[in-house]
C-alpha cells in the first residue's frame, strides 16, 4: 500500500522540477536547437529546389538550342529552295525575254526586208520602164532612120492590128 500512495512532498518537488526544467530547456535548448534544425532543413530543401530548378533550366536551354538549330536548318532549307526557284524563274524569264526580243528583231528585220524588197522592186520597175523607154526610143530611132523601114513598120503594125 505504501508503494502506491503518492507522497505529497515528492509530487511537489517533481512538479517544481519539471516546470523549471521545461521553462529553462524551452528557452535555452529546445528553441535554439529546433530553430537550427528547421533552418538547416529549410536550407537543404531550398538548395535541392534550386538544383532542381537549375537542372530544368539546363534542360530548357538544351531544348531551346535544339529548337533554334532546327529552325535555322529549316530556314536555310527554305532560303536555298527560294534561291533555286528564283534562279529557275530568272532563267525562264531571260529565255522568254530573249525569245520575245529575237522574235521582235526577226519581225523588224523581215518588215525591213519586205520594205526594202518593195522599194527595190519598185525602183527596178522604174528602172526597167526607163530602160524600156530608152531602148524603145533607140529602136524607134533606128527603125525610123530610113523610109523603107518606116513603111515596113507601119505595115507590120497594121498587120498586127488586123490580126487582133
Amino acid at each position: 500500500m505504501e508503494l502506491i500512495t503518492p507522497e505529497f512532498g515528492l509530487i511537489f518537488w517533481t512538479g517544481i522540477s519539471f516546470l523549471i526544467l521545461l521553462f529553462i530547456l524551452k528557452k535555452f535548448a529546445w528553441k535554439p536547437i529546433l530553430n537550427s534544425v528547421n533552418t538547416r532543413e529549410q536550407s537543404i530543401k531550398d538548395a535541392l529546389a534550386a538544383a532542381e530548378a537549375a537542372k530544368r533550366e539546363m534542360e530548357n536551354l538544351t531544348a531551346d538550342n535544339e529548337r533554334i538549330l532546327k529552325e535555322a536548318r529549316a530556314e536555310r532549307e527554305t532560303l536555298l529552295k527560294e534561291a533555286r526557284e528564283i534562279k529557275t524563274k530568272m532563267i525562264a524569264d531571260a529565255e522568254e525575254d530573249a525569245k520575245v526580243k529575237a522574235d521582235k528583231l526577226i519581225a523588224n528585220a523581215q518588215a525591213a526586208i519586205e520594205t526594202e524588197k518593195k522599194a527595190a522592186i519598185s525602183e527596178l520597175k522604174a528602172q526597167v520602164a526607163n530602160l524600156s523607154l530608152d531602148i524603145a526610143e533607140k529602136v524607134v530611132k533606128a527603125e525610123l532612120s530610113n523610109k523603107d523601114k518606116q513603111l515596113k513598120l507601119v505595115e507590120d503594125m497594121l498587120g498586127d492590128a488586123k490580126l487582133n
Binding site: E7, F8, G9, S17, I33, S36
Partner: protein
C-alpha cells in the same frame, strides 16, 4: 535465425540456473540439518522495499550515508534539520527536538509526536494515535536524484544548444550530434504523426522535456551505486505528477469536437450514445491513470527483479547461485536498458496521442 539462436542460449541458461538453484537448495537444507544453527533470516522483502521506496538519507556503502535536509511544514511554521540527526534510525526511537516539537522517523515517514508521547503508536488501520504527520517537503533520496537528473539534462542540452549556436551552418557538434537524432525522432515519429503538422510545434518543448526527464531518471535508476540507484521514476508520486501535466495540457488544448466525440458520439444510435458517454468520460481519467501506473509498475518491477536475483545469492549463500544470479542480473539489466527507453518513449508517445485527440477537428 538470430532470434532462435538467442532463445536457445536463453533456455540453456535458464535450465542451468534452475539446476544450480535446486542443487543449492538441497545443499543448504543438508547444512541446516547438520549444524542446527539458527541464523538470522535474510529479509528479501525488507531489502527490496527499502530500495524501491523513498528515504530521508542516501545510503552510499556500509555505514556511510549522505545526510539530506528534512523540511517540514508544521502548524508552527517551517522546520528544517539534517536527516543525520536521526542517526540512521527508522524505527521511531530517536527523537529530534526542534522549536519545541518532537519528530521521529518511522520507516522513512516523519511524525510529529504529541506532547508527552515518546513513541508513535498506531491503530488497526495504521493511523497514528498520538502523533501528527506534518507536510513533508524534505529533499529525500528521490528528490536529490531528481535534482541530479536536472543537472545532467541541463548540462547535456545547454551544451547541445551551444554547439548549434557556435557552428555557422546550424550543424551540431559534440554531444549535440548524439542528441539530435533523438530530438528528431521525437519530432518526426512522436509529435508529427500524433499531433499533426499544424500544431505539433507548440507541444515539442513539453514532449522533449518529458521524454528526457523520464529517460534520464530511468537510466539513473539503473546505475547501481551512489549517487544514482534511486527508484524515482518507479515512484508513483513522480509518475502521477507527469501524468497530471499531460492530463491538464490535454484539457487545455481540447476543442469542441473532443467533448462532442466523448459525450455525444456522432454517427451512432441514441441508446448507444447514452451507453458510450459514461465510458468515454471515465476514459478521460483512465488515460492519465494508465500512464501513471504503466511507468511506475514497469520501472519498479525492473528494480524488484534485479534485487530479487541479487538476493538469491544471500538466500542460498552459494557460489554457484551467485554466479548464476550475476549472469541473470546482467541479462535483465541489459533488457532494462531497453525497457527504460521504451517506457519513456511510450509515455511521450501516448501523451502526444492524447494531445492529438484533443486537437482533432470535425471532419
Amino acid at each position: 535465425m538470430k532470434t532462435s539462436k538467442f532463445s536457445i542460449s536463453r533456455n540453456l541458461l535458464l535450465g542451468a540456473f534452475f539446476l544450480l538453484s535446486t542443487f543449492a537448495v538441497n545443499a543448504s537444507k543438508s547444512n541446516e540439518k547438520k549444524d542446527f544453527v539458527e541464523e538470522e533470516a535474510f529479509d528479501t522483502k525488507e531489502l527490496i522495499f527499502h530500495h524501491i521506496t523513498d528515504s530521508h538519507s542516501f545510503h552510499i556503502a556500509g555505514d556511510m550515508a549522505l545526510p539530506l535536509p528534512i523540511i517540514l511544514w508544521t502548524e508552527n511554521g517551517l522546520v528544517t534539520f539534517m536527516s543525520s540527526e536521526f542517526h540512521h534510525d527508522i524505527d521511531g526511537k530517536t527523537i529530534v527536538e526542534k522549536n519545541g516539537m518532537k519528530f521521529v522517523n518511522v520507516h522513512e515517514k516523519i511524525y510529529q509526536l504529541d506532547a508527552g508521547a515518546s513513541s508513535v503508536t498506531f491503530d488497526a488501520e495504521h493511523h497514528p494515535t498520538n502523533a501528527k504527520k506534518p507536510l513533508n517537503f524534505s529533499i529525500t533520496k528521490n528528490v536529490f536524484s531528481m535534482f541530479l537528473s536536472m543537472a545532467f539534462i541541463l548540462l547535456i542540452f545547454l551544451l547541445s544548444a551551444r554547439s548549434y549556436k557556435r557552428s555557422n551552418n546550424n550543424m551540431p557538434s559534440g554531444i549535440g550530434k548524439f542528441m539530435e537524432p533523438i530530438i528528431l525522432f521525437i519530432r518526426d515519429e512522436v509529435a508529427i504523426p500524433n499531433i499533426g503538422e499544424k500544431h505539433y510545434g507548440r507541444y515539442m518543448p513539453f514532449l522533449l522535456t518529458l521524454f528526457f526527464f523520464i529517460w534520464i531518471n530511468n537510466v539513473i535508476g539503473l546505475i547501481p551505486f551512489f549517487p544514482f540507484s534511486s527508484n524515482l521514476s518507479g515512484n508513483i508520486a513522480f509518475t502521477v505528477t507527469l501524468a497530471l501535466f499531460t492530463f491538464i495540457i490535454t484539457l487545455f488544448s481540447s476543442k469542441k469536437y473532443y467533448w462532442k466525440h466523448m459525450l455525444w458520439m456522432p454517427g451512432l444510435p441514441v441508446p448507444m450514445k447514452l451507453f458510450l458517454a459514461p465510458i468515454e468520460f471515465m476514459g478521460m481519467f483512465i488515460k492519465p491513470i494508465a500512464l501513471t501506473i504503466r511507468l511506475f509498475a514497469n520501472i519498479t518491477a525492473g528494480h524488484i527483479i534485479v534485487l530479487s536475483l541479487i538476493s538469491l545469492t544471500f538466500i542460498f549463500k552459494n557460489y554457484f547461485v551467485g554466479v548464476g544470479s550475476v549472469v541473470f542480473v546482467v541479462f535483465i539489466s541489459v533488457i532494462e536498458v531497453l525497457v527504460v527507453a521504451i517506457q519513456a518513449y511510450i509515455f511521450t508517445m501516448l501523451s502526444a496521442l492524447y494531445f492529438g485527440q484533443a486537437l482533432e477537428e470535425e471532419h
